[in-house]
Amino acid sequence: DTAVSQTPKYLVTQMGNDKSIKCEQNLGHDTMYWYKQDSKKFLKIMFSYNNKELIINETVPNRFSPKSPDKAHLNLHINSLELGDSAVYFCASSQYARTSGGNEQFFGPGTRLTVL
């Protein structure tokens, strides 16, 4: 059973196109995240949703728009793709608890986006 799944695994596209990445988790978690991992393997959070509500929105170009139709799904739509968007995008999920610091995050397999 896959806990956090993403589709597609690979995405190759031309500059200027619009594309979407989908994420689903079957862990029953209430919080989901999108991270970007660049070519130097640096991981940075982009967005987070808690119970379908956007709670973290880092400094990300507004060409990136997340959508959470329910707490088990978090999608990422990217408009007008640019060369610099090439990266691996990871989805993650966790269960929020009202204690200092929060909870362990579980990561999906990643989507390798290549913009030509």
């Binding site: 919080t31 995240y33 130097k40 393997k41 640096f42 991981l43 940075k44 959070i45 987070s48 808690n50 709670i55 973290i56 880092e58 990871f90 966790s94 929020y96 009202r98 204690t99 200092s100 610091g101 929060g102 909870n103 362990e104 995050q105 579980f106 990561f107 999906g108 397999p109 990643g110």
Partner: protein
């Protein structure tokens, strides 16, 4: 702004040797996570350290947390080739709200040579 520094960033070691990876962070936080990433793969959770003085061990890896020093260590004992991977530490903010994001270190690429 929370900053997380790992060192070394690159570590090449012989099988059978011991070594330690360090993770320092800049602001107060009471927990820390270690992840492993194999090439082309996802991040796998290794350790969750939830309090000052926490120590956890799994096989040849042992992680510890000193929240007063803002330091975590990942100690490798008698390294084997299978441990070759990139290791990340990640630190959450200390607030109790749902605005919960992990700040990751840059990762330590560990290569274990026969």
């Amino acid at each position: 702004e929370l900053k997380v520094e790992q060192n070394p960033l690159f570590l090449s070691m012989q099988e059978g040797k011991n070594y330690t990876i360090y993770c320092n962070y800049s602001t107060t936080s009471d927990r820390l996570y270690w992840y492993r990433q194999d090439p082309g793969k996802s991040l796998e959770s290794l350790f969750v350290l939830l309090s000052n003085g926490a120590v956890k061990q799994e096989g040849r890896l042992m992680a510890s947390l000193d929240t007063k020093a803002r330091l975590s260590t990942l100690h490798i004992t008698a390294a084997v080739h299978d441990l070759s991977a990139t290791y990340f530490c990640a630190v959450p903010p200390n607030s109790g709200g749902s605005n919960y994001k992990l700040t990751f270190g840059k990762g330590t690429l560990l290569t274990v040579n026969p």
